[in-house]
C-alpha cells in the first residue's frame, strides 16, 4: 500500500488543456472517488495515475517514487475497467493469474493466489469458465479478482459499475466497499454517479472542466458545498437554487418572493440554496404553487413553483396535496446555503 500524491498535474492534447494543474494527496489506505460530469477529466487523471496517459506537466508520486516516466507495469497498480477488459479466450483462473504468470511466478504460487482471491470474491465455482459464460456481476468480480491477485499498492477503478443494472450496482458497491475494508489498499475510484461517490468514498474529489471544484468527506461536500456546481452536483434531488438578492428583510427573489435568512447571513448573496429535505410544510412559510406530487412511499417529493422559479421539497410525512394547491414552505434556516455572484459559497 502507498499514498498517491498528485502535484500540479496538467494534461494537454495539442494546445487543448484538459487538466488544469490539479493537486490531490491521497493517504495510504484511503478510498478516494473522483466524480464529475462527462468530460471533466476524471478518467484522464486516473489514466495518468495508471500510466496509460502521459503527464504533460506536474508530478505524480506513488509512495515516494515519482512515476511520471514509469511504465504502467512497473507502477505496482491494478486497474478495473468499465468494460472489465477480461481476456475473452482465457478462463477466469487464467485471467486472474496472467499478471503473475508474466512475473514468472511458479504454477503453485499462481494457483494459490488465484484461489485465495477467488475465495474472497466467491468466484471459486467459476474458475474454469470463460468470461462469456459469466453474468455481468461475475465478470466484474473477475476483473476485481485480477486486480487483487497482484496485491498492488494502489487499486484504480474506472467507472466499474456503469455497465451493471441498478440492483447489481448497489450490491457491487457494497462488495467493493467491503473489499476495501478488508484489504485496506489505497483506492482511486472514478464515477459520474454521485450516489456511488457518496456511499463509497472516504473522500470525494469533485471535478469540472479539468479543475478540482472541491475535495472533502462526502457529508462535508453535502453540507458545505464550496460553490454552486458542487451544490447541484452532490445530492439527489439536487439542491434548490433561487436567484435574487439578500437584503435587510430577507432574501428577495427576482419575482419579489421574500425568503427568510439566517441571522448570520452574509450580505451580497445572489443565490439562495436549500436542500429539498430542509423544506417543511408550514403556513408561516413562503407561498408556492404545487405542480407535481411524487409519493415514493417513504417520502413525498413535491415540485412547486415559487414566483417564476421551481423548487423541490422532500416531505417525510404523507400529505394530501393536489396540483394547483397553494402551500407554505418553511426553510430550515440552519441549512440555508448562500452563494455570491461568482458562484462561491459565502
Amino acid at each position: 500500500m502507498a499514498n498517491v500524491s498528485i502535484d500540479n498535474v496538467a494534461k494537454f492534447y495539442g494546445s487543448h488543456k484538459v487538466i488544469h494543474g490539479i493537486d490531490i494527496d491521497i493517504a495510504d489506505g484511503e478510498f478516494v472517488t473522483l466524480v464529475g460530469p462527462s468530460g471533466c477529466g476524471k478518467s484522464t487523471l486516473l489514466r495518468m495515475i495508471a500510466g496509460l496517459e502521459e503527464i504533460s506537466d506536474g508530478d505524480i508520486r506513488i509512495g515516494d517514487r515519482v512515476v511520471n516516466d514509469v511504465p504502467p507495469k512497473e507502477r505496482d497498480i491494478a486497474m478495473v475497467f468499465q468494460n472489465y477488459a477480461l481476456y475473452p479466450h482465457m478462463t477466469v483462473a487464467q485471467n486472474m493469474g496472467f499478471a503473475l504468470k508474466l512475473k514468472g511466478e511458479s504454477r503453485a504460487t499462481i494457483d494459490a493466489r488465484v484461489r485465495e482471491a477467488a475465495a474472497i470474491l466467491a468466484l471459486e465455482p467459476y474458475l474454469d469458465r470463460l468470461p462469456k459464460q459469466l453474468s455481468g456481476g461475475q465478470r466484474q468480480r473477475v476483473a476485481m479478482g485480477r486486480a487483487i491477485v497482484r496485491s498492488p499498492q494502489v487499486f484504480l477503478f474506472d467507472e466499474p459499475l456503469s455497465n451493471l443494472d441498478a440492483k447489481l450496482r448497489v450490491q457491487m458497491r457494497a462488495e467493493i466497499k467491503d473489499l476495501h475494508r478488508r484489504l485496506g489498499t489505497t483506492t482511486v475510484y472514478v464515477t459520474h454517479d454521485q450516489i456511488e461517490a457518496m456511499t463509497m468514498a472516504d473522500r470525494i474529489v469533485v471535478m469540472k472542466g479539468g479543475v478540482v471544484e472541491q475535495i472533502g468527506r462526502p457529508l462535508e461536500l453535502y453540507d458545505r458545498p464550496a460553490n454552486l456546481f458542487v451544490a447541484t452536483f452532490i445530492g439527489s434531488p439536487a439542491m434548490n437554487l433561487l436567484t435574487g438578492r439578500a437584503g435587510q428583510g430577507g432574501f428577495v427573489t427576482g419575482d419579489g418572493v421574500v425568503l427568510p435568512l439566517p441571522a448570520t447571513a452574509a450580505a451580497g448573496a445572489t443565490t439562495y440554496g436549500i436542500r429539498p429535505e430542509h423544506l417543511t410544510l408550514d403556513e408561516t412559510g413562503f407561498r408556492a404553487e404545487v405542480v407535481v406530487i411524487e409519493p415514493t412511499g417513504a417520502e413525498t417529493q413535491v415540485l412547486a413553483r415559487c414566483g417564476g422559479q421551481t423548487l423541490v421539497a422532500v416531505l417525510r410525512e404523507r400529505v394530501e396535496l393536489n396540483p394547483g394547491d397553494i402551500i407554505g414552505l418553511k426553510p430550515d434556516l440552519s441549512a440555508v446555503h448562500l452563494f455570491g455572484e461568482d458562484g462561491r459559497r459565502l
Partner: protein, 292 residues
C-alpha cells in the same frame, strides 16, 4: 376464408415462383462452373490423349469407359522429366512457408500500426494503403534484378520472401486489431505484458477470423502464382506445379492425358483447403471484399 386470407395468397404464390426460378438459376450456374472441373477429372482417367481430344465437344467428355490411374503414375515422379510429385511438393512448401511467415509478419505490422506508439503511424498506414494500388506486374522487373543480384534466382527464398509482407494483409490485420477494445491492450500493459507478449498472448488468439481470412486469400494468391516463378525458376529444384503444367503446352504435340492428371494434382490441395475452410472462405470474401 376471410378477405385477408384471399388477399395474402397472391404474394405466397409469387414467392414460390421466385424460388423455382432461383433454384433453376443456381443449378444452371453450378453446372456451368462444375462441368469443366468434372471434364478435367474424367479426362485425367483416360490414357489415350487423342481420344481425349476427340471426346471434347461431345457428351463423351463426361464419361470414361476404362478408368485408369496410369496418367497419375506417369506424372507423379519426384525426379526426371515428369516430376510433378516434386513440383506439387515445391508448391506446397512455398504455400506453407509464405502463408505462415505472412501471418506472423503482417499481423505484427498491423498490430503495431493499430496499437503501437510508432511516430507517424497515420502516414505509414496511408503509405501502406497506397502501395496496394501498385500492380505486382509493374515492379516485377526491378524485383527480378534485385533477386538475381542477391544470388537468389531459382530458389525457394525468391518465391517466398517477396510475398510475405503485403500491404493488403497488413491493412486487414490493422483493421481487425483496431476494432478490438483498447482496454484489452491497456489491461495487458498493466498486467506487465510486453508489446510482443500482448500481440502473441492476447491479440493473436482473438484474431482467428482475421487469420483465417488472410490465410485463405494469401493461400490462393500464392498457389496461383505464375509470372514470377516462371521468371525466377530455371530448374526443377524450386519449380512450382503451376509453372510445370505450362510446359505441356506450346510444344508440337500436347499430352492432354498427362496435362489433365497434372491439373488434377494441382487442384486437389486447393480443393481440400476450400472444403476445410468453406465457412471462412465465404466470410473472408464478404468481409474483405477484395482481390478478384
Amino acid at each position: 376464408m376471410s378477405d385477408l386470407a384471399l388477399f395474402s395468397r397472391k404474394p405466397t404464390m409469387s414467392v414460390n415462383g421466385y424460388r423455382v426460378v432461383q433454384s433453376i438459376s443456381v443449378f444452371v450456374i453450378a453446372l456451368v462452373v462444375i462441368s469443366p472441373l468434372f471434364m478435367l477429372f474424367i479426362a485425367s482417367l483416360k490414357d489415350d490423349r487423342f481420344q481425349i481430344l476427340a471426346d471434347m465437344g461431345s457428351f463423351r467428355a463426361f464419361w470414361v469407359d476404362n478408368p485408369t490411374l496410369s496418367n497419375f503414375r506417369e506424372v507423379g515422379n519426384f525426379a526426371g522429366e515428369l516430376a510433378f510429385g516434386r513440383y506439387l511438393g515445391n508448391s506446397l512448401f512455398i504455400l506453407g512457408s509464405t502463408v505462415s511467415l505472412g501471418l506472423v509478419i503482417n499481423s505484427m505490422a498491423g498490430f503495431i500500426l493499430a496499437w503501437g506508439s510508432l511516430p507517424g503511424r497515420a502516414v505509414i498506414l496511408s503509405l501502406i494503403i497506397a502501395l496496394y494500388v501498385i500492380p505486382q506486374e509493374s515492379i516485377i522487373m526491378p524485383l527480378l534484378i534485385i533477386v538475381s543480384r542477391a544470388g537468389l534466382s531459382d530458389t525457394f527464398t525468391a518465391q517466398i520472401l517477396p510475398f510475405v509482407a503485403s500491404p493488403l494483409y497488413t491493412f486487414l490485420f490493422y483493421q481487425f486489431f483496431a476494432q478490438l477494445p483498447k482496454e484489452l491492450y491497456e489491461a495487458a500493459s498493466i498486467d506487465g505484458a510486453s508489446i510482443f507478449r500482448t500481440w502473441w498472448s492476447i491479440f493473436m488468439p482473438l484474431s482467428l477470423p482475421a487469420l483465417a481470412t488472410v490465410s485463405i486469400l494469401m493461400g490462393i494468391e500464392t498457389w496461383n502464382q505464375y509470372l514470377w516463378p516462371i521468371l525466377i525458376t530455371q530448374t526443377d529444384y524450386a519449380r512450382p506445379i503451376s509453372v510445370a503444367i505450362a510446359t505441356f503446352f506450346g510444344q508440337d504435340s500436347i499430352y492432354w492425358d498427362r496435362a489433365m492428371a497434372a491439373s488434377v494434382l494441382m487442384m486437389i490441395p486447393i480443393l481440400v483447403f476450400y472444403l476445410a475452410f468453406q465457412r471462412w472462405f465465404i466470410s473472408s470474401f464478404v468481409g474483405s471484399a477484395v482481390k478478384g
